[in-house]
């Protein structure tokens, strides 16, 4: 780039001030040129304009790769050649965003999707100048409303935030100052930007809260007195207080309950239409983005690899990565449900990419992929892939089918198969990383992977002896919690929620689980679904012997959890093991994988020395962490999320359990890794006869790995039956609500 973006940008900022559309496109000042005002500007600004295609030799350039080919108006925000690096002390420099060009028009809603670590949040922070050291913009410009944002000093930036860009942070759970009332938050913002105080400010705040469907009384509350959804609405209202032209939503609904997610997204979409701001929705959830945004950008390894209109992307993705991401979503009520996964993990961004960054995980890669991919314009979108446009068929990892003849009736068949190798013939290369070293070994698509998967199954069957079959039977199980009275909707808190000694008299009881009976037969998989607060985790913990029921019985053969003494519980835990939600918190960071699993083997099976070692390696192979010798010496931080979850599963298997209780085992993982873990659970059940209690809010995964489903609402089972028939013909309104809350990918 010519010149320092700072000075030039500042100059551009002053010039553009108040002038609106009069960007000096061809003026002598390099680096100031806003992209052309129409679609014919290919090459107008040279390498300093919006056209910063790294490969000028790209075949057809009908418009600018950075945006709409048929743009008719001045973009509200555009960035060109944006580079962001993290420069932590004593660690390699990570190149999180690499040469990104983009533009957002006034009033449009754009979605930005990608797996964790792809740079999407960093990009959002860079666009709004919220990056903190050690992150730094090293190249490129971000021009917002005619001003180069990267060059503004903090003082100007602050004033610019008003009527400029606002940010709604990840889920809003922690975006509010815990010691300040909601009123105080509004007062701070309104005083700073609108010079409104006192009663007038309160009136404005009430009005803003009205926009997000909250009552004025919320103003007198503290953040902890509000539910997650309410907090997120407050955050949105605060962002609106700035009267922004652009709102960046960074994972706006991630930590929210499924039903609340939907409501919040609806509110965002309505406000966007009413108020008319532009919106950038950053999310890992492709379904959510495609359901609400006009256009969608797919980001991978610091680059935007595909930009399309949402419907077009949903219908026919052009980049293999987008196609693979799409395959990780599905409609759990369909006849035939398939789930894809992407083997391997995203590249290390501290190493400069050699050619296409996705190639190592791509099932279609060809020698040409060793070169940097060009950004091609196809239709109204762009894609950075050598092979585009080519028909993409993504290999699937898991499948559940309703047999046509018996569909809808009682005889609902369900099966799960190995990767259905229906991919383009040409791509039949045994590409992809070797099995084991990657996150999704079982998913290695194509012919090369199939025998491998089969070999695995055989090995697993031989090595894990079948356990004598006994059902886990629950009868009228109730769990009550004493909670302090709260104004917000946070019912069903933890057992230790009440402060000891204080306020006993004023506490009330909540029935987190209210009279549940169920029987988990050997080798079967039962799903437990419901929104948060429905009591599903509490029920799972009781079944895993970690909490005692307030009344009712939980029996496994001769063992009765509710009457067992604490020191006898290890006998129960030998037969019922739990797989936790958070693989990052589930492993002690200072112990190696070998130690973590070895510890469990010592405790449960009393193994020592050689036998312990051989059993350890066998377990690592069972969960697909090969070569096992290498993995047993690793520390948790050296593993990816999916690999960690495999370690957690191996540790649970160390007890040779009859029952696995898996509480949201994949919800913290990237979508591309979920299929691998789900398939592992499914295979374990089939091969070893271990029964599975699968707790989730995600109906799609429940459809794929369970054969029986219980829908929980406020601690009660409101509906139960074979998974496919419950999902396909729900009878209870709550089940219908849960199904409707799933974002629809066209």
């Amino acid at each position: 780039m010519a010149g320092t973006p700072g000075e030039l940008g500042a100059a551009g900022g002053r010039r553009g001030d108040g002038v609106g559309g009069s960007a000096p496109g061809g003026s002598g000042a390099p680096g100031v040129g806003a992209p052309g005002t129409d679609g014919t500007s290919s090459g107008s600004g040279g390498r300093d304009g919006a056209v910063a295609d790294p490969q000028p030799a790209a075949p057809v350039v009908e418009g600018e790769p950075g945006g709409h080919p048929q743009r008719t108006q001045q973009p509200l925000l555009f960035a060109s050649g944006l580079d962001v690096v993290y420069e932590p002390a004593g660690a390699p420099v990570v190149h999180a965003v690499r040469g990104v060009d983009l533009s957002i028009d006034p009033g449009e809603m754009v979605g930005l999707v990608g797996e964790s670590g792809c740079g999407k949040s960093t990009l959002g922070y860079a666009l709004t100048r919220l990056l903190r050291p050690p992150a730094r913009i090293t190249a490129g410009r971000v021009v917002f409303d005619g001003r180069d944002v990267t060059a503004l000093d903090q003082g100007r930036l602050r004033t610019m935030r008003h009527r400029g860009f606002a940010v709604v942070l990840q889920s809003g759970m922690n975006a509010l100052n815990p010691v300040r009332t909601i009123d105080g938050h509004f007062a701070d913002v309104l005083r700073t930007h609108r010079r409104v105080r006192g009663a007038a400010a309160r009136q404005v705040a009430e009005e803003l809260l009205g926009h997000v469907e909250l009552a004025p009384t919320v103003l007198d509350r503290f953040p902890h007195e509000l539910s997650g959804g309410m907090r997120q609405r407050v955050v949105i209202a605060l962002a609106l207080a700035l009267q922004p032209k652009l709102v960046v939503f960074d994972e706006p609904t991630t930590a929210l309950d499924v039903l609340v997610q939907r409501a919040v997204m609806d509110t965002i979409a309505r406000l966007q239409a009413e108020v008319g701001f532009s919106a950038l929705v950053i999310s890992h959830d492709l379904g959510l983005v495609l359901g609400t945004a006009d256009r969608a950008w797919v980001m991978y390894a610091g680059r935007i690899v595909e930009r399309r209109e949402s419907a077009a992307l949903a219908g026919a993705p052009l980049h293999p990565y987008s196609a693979a991401l799409l395959a990780c979503h599905g409609d759990p009520t369909a006849d035939n449900v398939q789930l894809g996964g992407i083997p391997g993990s995203p590249p290390d961004l501290s190493v400069p990419p050699q050619g296409c960054s996705f190639a190592p995980r791509c099932w279609m890669k060809e020698p040409v992929c060793r070169n940097d991919p060009p950004e091609r314009v196809i239709g109204t979108g762009t894609v950075a892939c050598h092979l585009a446009p080519r028909k993409l068929v993504v290999p699937r990892a898991l499948e559940a089918t309703v047999l046509a003849s018996t569909a809808g009736g009682m005889g609902v068949g369900q099966n799960s198969t190995d990767g259905t190798a229906t991919y383009d013939g040409r791509a039949a290369l045994s590409a992809g990383p070797g099995p084991g070293a990657s996150d999704g070994p079982a998913l290695s698509p194509g012919a090369a992977a199939a025998p491998d998967g089969a070999a695995w199954a055989v090995r697993r069957r031989r090595s894990l002896e079948r356990v004598e079959p006994e059902a886990l039977v629950l009868q009228d199980v109730v769990k009550q919690f004493r909670t302090a009275r709260r104004t917000g909707g946070r019912a069903g808190g933890r057992a230790d929620g009440a402060w000891p000694g204080v306020g006993r008299a004023r506490s009330s009881t909540v029935r987190a689980v209210d009279g549940v009976s169920l029987s988990l037969e050997p080798g079967h998989a039962v799903g437990l679904v419901g929104a948060s607060g429905s009591g599903k985790t509490t029920l799972g913990r009781m079944m895993a012997g970690m909490d005692r029921p307030s009344s009712g019985t939980i029996r496994l053969g001769g063992l009765r959890v509710e009457t067992m003494r604490s020191r006898d519980l290890p006998r129960y835990w030998q037969r019922v093991q739990m797989v936790f939600q958070d693989p990052y918190a589930g492993l002690n960071p200072v112990h190696t994988v070998g130690y973590a699993i070895g510890r469990a083997l010592r405790n449960h099976q009393r193994l020592r020395d050689d036998r312990l070692r051989s059993e350890l390696h066998r377990l690592l192979e069972v969960v697909g962490l090969t070569p096992s010798g290498q993995f047993s010496a690793k520390l948790p931080h050296q593993l990816s999320g999916g690999q960690r979850q495999r370690v957690v599963i191996a540790r649970a298997l160390a007890a040779k359990p009859q029952v696995l209780v898996a509480d949201e085992p994949v919800s913290m993982l990237d979508v591309s890794l979920r299929a691998g873990i789900l398939r592992l659970l499914d295979e374990l059940r089939r091969d070893t006869g271990v029964s599975l209690l699968y707790i989730t809010h995600d109906l799609l995964s429940a459809r794929l790995v369970t054969d029986h489903l219980l829908v929980l609402q406020k601690g009660r089972v409101v509906e139960s039956g074979p998974t496919a028939s419950v999902l396909r013909s729900p009878s209870h309104s709550y089940t219908k609500q849960l199904i409707e809350a799933i974002p629809v990918v066209a």
Binding site: T128, L130, R132, P133, Q154, L157, R158, T159, M160, R161, H162, A166, V167, L169, Q170, G172, M173, N174, A175, L176, N177, P178, V179, R180, T181, D188, V189, T192, H193, F222, H224, V235, L238, A239, A241, L242, A484, W499, G501, V502, G503
Partner: protein
């Protein structure tokens, strides 16, 4: 207010427990003060029955059942009657303590509060300007300072500023040439005498507060609500103080409460080094002279002050953090 009322029973119970322990513990020790005194006399020759009787009466060896003794003890405490000090015979213990308490409260209390406020403020500043020169100087300097044992700092100051340079008096609470009273000469003298011990406490305390506050602040600065406040374009000062520091101070507030509780009893070494007429020095003398009534009363005073300080901080915490106010 309701929050405060709910905390009150806890305070009453702990107070009672402290008072009772103060009664029980000495009685569980083998021997009595009279035995100790008699043992000394026995070294010089045989003890007669009348000698024994005289000493027992003088020291007030308890008689009657344990329960009636306990009742007497509670009554005495309610009346503020802690007996007669041996060391300062025939002054009553309550008067001796009453004379020493203001000195300690003024010196140690003020310097502790001062150490906390300056330390915390500097900590906030260091964290807000992380990586700046101020930050590195403060962090390294404080690590260095807190590594010093504080009595050693006291001796060093005493030697350098008091003995060698002669800027400040070496010992005592006020000059022997002035008589205590509410006048300027006395106040000036007292102030001059308090500089060195106060400085010692300030130096030894400040570093810890600064480092603690800086670390809390660094954690809070990573919180979403700070980023969000910044994203909303709030002035830097508002973000730093009202959003970041306001939350970062919470863990420090608890520690500060503990420190306040230790004000009365925790300054022993400093006061001994400077011969300062406060509670610490008194305790030292009581121990050296086996002054049991004084010791017992001092223990009670120290315990009660710790409890009261914690109670006050509890109340303050309820004010500072709405999440515990329920």
């Amino acid at each position: 207010m309701r929050y405060a009322l709910r905390r009150l029973p806890v305070l009453v119970v702990t107070l009672w427990a402290a008072i009772t322990l103060n009664f029980v513990l000495p009685r569980m020790m083998p021997g009595t003060p009279a035995d100790a005194a008699l043992g000394k006399i026995a070294g010089q020759g045989p003890v007669t029955a009348s000698q024994r009787r005289a000493i027992e009466v003088m020291l007030g060896v308890p008689h009657g059942s344990l329960l009636s003794q306990y009742w007497q003890y509670l009554k005495a405490i309610a009346e503020g009657n802690f007996g007669i000090s041996y060391t300062y015979f025939p002054e009553p213990v309550s008067k001796v303590i009453g004379a020493a308490l203001p000195w300690t409260l003024a010196l140690v209390g003020t310097s502790t509060v001062l150490a906390f406020t300056t330390g915390a403020l500097l900590g906030v500043l260091a964290a807000w300007r992380r990586g700046s020169r101020l930050d590195s100087v403060a962090t390294v300097g404080c690590t260095f300072m807190t590594a010093f044992p504080y009595f050693w700092t006291a001796l060093l100051l005493l030697y350098a500023l008091g003995f060698v340079l002669g800027w400040f008096p070496i010992r005592g609470g006020y000059s022997s040439s002035v008589s205590p009273g509410w006048d300027w000469t006395f106040a000036a003298s007292a102030l001059r005498h308090s500089v060195l011990p106060a400085f010692t406490i300030l130096i030894s305390g400040l570093g810890g507060w600064l480092l603690g506050m800086r670390n809390n602040m660094m954690g809070v600065l990573g919180e979403d609500y700070v980023t969000f406040a910044e994203a909303n374009g709030l002035p830097a000062r508002t973000v730093a103080l009202r959003y970041a520091a306001r939350n970062a101070v919470l863990p420090s507030a608890t520690a500060f409460g503990m420190a306040l509780g230790m004000v009365v009893g925790g300054s022993l070494l400093t006061e001994v080094v400077f011969g300062y007429p406060g509670i610490g020095y008194l305790l030292y003398n009581a121990v050296v002279n086996e002054d049991y009534p004084l010791m017992q009363a001092l223990f009670l005073v120290i315990t009660v002050s710790v409890l009261l300080a914690n109670f006050v901080v509890d109340l303050l915490y309820g004010f500072l953090d709405p999440r515990v106010r329920r």
